[in-house]
């Protein structure tokens, strides 16, 4: 049982670390939103794994709160970025002074 718990925490910790790497690297705001969303899901999975391994149901209501927060956060940031593009004629915000997307630069070069 302890081996299984090490394996579980190792897998979840590795996933969380890699999501943190993407959160730090960016390069854009939407990358960070996606990474935060995934990180919160991984955190709730980790809480559920802890509850299952220890047979400890006290963290179960926390799961509901975490999943609610993940949804509200990602939707509000997506709406914020969409609001920045609202007056843009070209549609991508390049005429409003927003930087060129890193994916565009990579596709060209």
């Amino acid at each position: 049982m302890t081996v299984v718990s090490y394996v579980l925490y190792g897998l979840i910790g590795g996933g969380a670390l890699l999501a943190l790497v993407r959160l730090a690297m960016g390069p854009s705001l939407l990358d960070r939103v996606v990474a935060t969303d995934t990180l919160l899901v991984i955190i709730s999975a980790g809480l559920a794994v802890y509850a299952a391994l220890e047979r400890d149901p006290t963290v179960v209501p926390v799961l509901v709160v975490v999943s609610l927060l993940a949804f509200v956060g990602s939707v509000s940031i997506a709406r914020y970025v969409g609001g920045m593009l609202r007056g843009s004629v070209t549609g991508d915000g390049s005429d409003l002074g927003l930087p060129v997307a890193a994916e565009e630069r990579e596709a060209r070069g």
Partner: protein, 150 residues
């Protein structure tokens, strides 16, 4: 009976945790926002479902099982909504590796779309109704013709 339940729940938990690791790997290795979303949403539905099933089998009592079921149902309801909004904004903001796309049905539209900005409610009427109707009826102007009107 209890041992069988433990084995089943541990299998579900390991599968869900493995999906969490694959999500992290995909987030780091994939090239643009849309493909990173593809990787990141793997644990959002299947991973969370597996982990919740495993935890509900391990925890005794129906109240815990109902609360875990609530979490799973909430994830399945909210994941498509947030994914749709993020991907819509990401496409408009050009966070797409266009050279890696096989099909880009949206790219033929001239200069983005004039009619929908992407963050209005789904049943919102078009902002410029005559263009909306004209684009459905008359389609012979070519893609680069119409200058953006806003």
């Amino acid at each position: 009976m209890s041992a069988v339940l433990d084995v089943v729940s541990m299998t579900c938990l390991v599968a869900g945790a493995f999906l969490c690791l694959t999500a992290g790997l995909g987030l780091v290795r994939f090239p643009d926002v849309l493909s990173r979303m593809h990787a990141g949403t793997k644990p959002q539905v299947l991973g969370v479902l597996l982990v919740m099933v495993g935890a509900a089998l391990r925890l005794q009592g129906w109240s815990n099982a109902w609360m875990l079921l609530l979490v799973a149902a909430f994830q399945m309801l909210t994941a498509p909504v947030s994914a749709h909004m993020i991907s819509r904004v990401a496409y408009r903001r050009r966070h797409v590796r266009r050279d890696l796309l096989l099909v880009d049905e949206f790219g033929a539209a001239p200069a983005g779309d004039r009619l929908y900005v992407g963050d209005e409610p789904g049943d919102a009427p078009p902002e410029e109704p005559e263009i909306a109707i004209a684009e459905h009826v008359v389609d012979d102007r070519g893609p680069g013709d119409g200058a953006p009107r806003r």
